[in-house]
Amino acid sequence: MTGFIKEFAKGIIISNPVFILALGLCPTLAMSDKLENALGMSAAVLFVLLCSNIVVSSIRKYVPAIMRIPVFIVVIATFVTIVNLVFQAYLPSLYESLGIYLPLVVVNCIILGRAEAFASKNPVTASIADALGIGIGFALAITIIALIREILGTGSLTLGDNTLFTLPVLGEHPITILSLSAGAFLVIGLLLAFFRRIGVAKNE
């Protein structure tokens, strides 16, 4: 049980996929403009990561080493297709705003990376812990970035059709650059530097 918790906790801070390892940057940059998109992307990545880690870890003894990458990609692509269909059926507006980034979860290096580096070498329970830790670490990172960008970039926070709150001054004069694509680079660049400054991540 302690091993489970250790694997789980590892992904959230010490080897956070976004802030520390700088993996999976494409969806993080693209889908952190709004809280809603960030949550949708987090759910998709968490589900695909969990399922692919379970499957890859269960079949690890039957897959020949030379064929493993194509097999992993097909496993991941299958779960991505499932997520696509579920989002399309039950969350059509989120499906629209995630656009091509939802099917692109298939080439997210976090997922293939975990399948290759962890699930293909470890038993199922450890792989589940690893997937949950890394998945929640990713979700936390993209949600923090989305909160900064949406609150400062538009002056308010919306979820679905409800506006949760509007800031007094920023509501009228938001820092628009943060919600543009350039703002994504700015916020993530500063956060990466921040995590190095406080000593969580290593300097180069």
Partner: protein, 191 residues
């Protein structure tokens, strides 16, 4: 014809793959330290994007739509791209070894490059016809190469610059990317 040129310019400058759509960031931050590497990588990506666009367009029109399995496009496309890259690699290795040694190693990296899968999915979403898909892929590839080349020039100077310790490497590259993104948003008035 004007429609095709519009698609080309939109994909190259306005909807730039790296700066606006955030696709293909790994080579952007990883490879782009030398100009010659950046150009070879860009050329390889452009080439694969065009070939993959043609192949996936044919597959979508003549296999996926008639059999009503468009929802399988993600799985099929990734397999098609992976095998295409393998075939291109073997073909170049046999026919033109000089070319292979110039960008052979980049081809292997392209299989999981999101820019290539991105353009094929984009063609489907925008419902482009074959010619439009080819121009979109060309534009996307040219824009990708352009930004990679610009970035490699800046990276060479960044290596020597005296940036704060915790900003060195990736963080400062992100800030440079932000400035590039702002500069590219100035192209918004072209169309």
């Amino acid at each position: 014809m004007s429609n095709l040129i519009t698609i080309f310019i939109t994909m190259a400058l306005l909807n730039n793959f790296i700066l606006v759509k955030f696709l293909g960031l790994c080579p952007f931050f990883g490879v782009s330290k030398k100009l010659s590497n950046a150009v070879s990588m860009g050329a390889a990506v452009t080439f694969v994007m065009v070939i993959a666009s043609i192949a996936t367009w044919i597959i979508t029109q003549y296999i996926l739509i008639p059999f009503n399995v468009v929802y399988m496009s993600t799985v099929i496309f990734i397999l098609v791209i992976a095998s295409l890259v393998q075939i291109i690699e073997m073909f170049i290795m046999r026919t033109n070894y000089a070319l292979y040694s110039a960008f052979g190693i980049y081809l292997a990296l392209i299989t999981t490059n999101c820019a290539v899968l991105g353009i094929t999915l984009w063609n489907i979403t925008e419902e482009y016809n074959l010619l439009q898909s080819i121009f979109a892929a060309l534009g996307g590839g040219v824009g990708f190469t352009l930004v990679l080349a610009i970035m490699s020039g800046i990276r060479e100077r960044l290596e020597l610059s005296d940036s704060p310790k915790s900003m060195k490497g990736l963080p400062i590259a992100f800030l440079v990317a932000m400035l590039l993104g702002l500069a590219f948003s100035g192209f918004g008035g072209i169309i």
